[in-house]
């Protein structure tokens, strides 16, 4: 087991998440893509902790990533609720008012 191999797995998770975030139309599915991206970031951060710097500071970085995941989830659900109330839909294509 090497750092590079674990990071490649993390990159695969991140890339699958990018595909989902870009391609999905339903807000909840877009959120799932973002979650998968953060899943890859968690794995990469843990790999860096184990293979490079096994210090408590590296764990703090992980806590920040988990906090970011919490924020993404809360705001995503709030936006989904708002979209459903105002447009009676949960599709991103129904919220293109700010498109340039």
């Amino acid at each position: 087991m090497t750092l590079q191999l674990v990071l490649v797995v993390a990159a695969a998770l991140f890339s699958v998440g990018v595909y989902g975030a870009l391609s999905q139309q339903v807000v909840v599915m877009v959120m799932m893509g973002l979650e998968l991206m953060l899943n890859g970031v968690i794995l990469a951060a843990v790999a860096c902790y184990w293979f490079l710097t096994p210090t408590p500071t590296a764990q703090v970085v992980l806590l920040v990533v988990i906090a970011a995941m919490t924020v993404e989830m809360a705001m995503g659900f709030a936006v989904a609720t708002l979209l459903h109330r105002s447009r009676n839909s949960d599709m991103t294509d129904m919220a293109t008012d700010l498109r340039g």
């Binding site: 087991m1 797995v9 699958v16 799932m32 899943n39 096994p54 764990q59």
Partner: protein, 191 residues
Amino acid sequence: MSIGIAGTVVFWVLAVIAVLAGAAVFWVDSMARATYALAVSFVAVGIQVLLLGLSYIGVITVLMMIMEMAIMAVYMIMFMGMNPALMPMSMVHGKRTAVATATGLFLALTAGILLAPWPARSGDPVPDPTAALGEVLMGSKMLVMIVVSAVLLATVIAALVLALPRGRYDRFGDDLRRRPPTDPQPGGVGR
């Protein structure tokens, strides 16, 4: 410090499960199944974190994601109904662009990972990483937790502002000049 041969085998089995379950999120034909697939992917990564000695981070990752998937299931049923959440569906746009972007990103990341000169590990993990994390959070890294606290508070307020159906813009209109206000949910003292 090593996780042993058995630990390594389990780690790679979990890695394969995590990636396949992650891909299944956008491959299965219903949102409910996609939720289960994402939960499996997260639990696999959480167990990998546990294998690498970070018991606290691993446990909160698994617990948080299980709770989040439960909330996602509630949202799906709430917005789509029970049957549509289980019905086959494919709601995608720009699929080719997304596939090309994700593939290009994976290749670029892999090239960077394999070509970068990674340094050697500095030191060994402490015997009790959870206690060490607690001490550092209450000491030199307290500013991180203070900033995270403020961000989480702002998130709570922003989420409420977005989700509440009876905000000032709902009542007074976009220019806040509507008189009398139209309340989606009438109520309050004297009304």
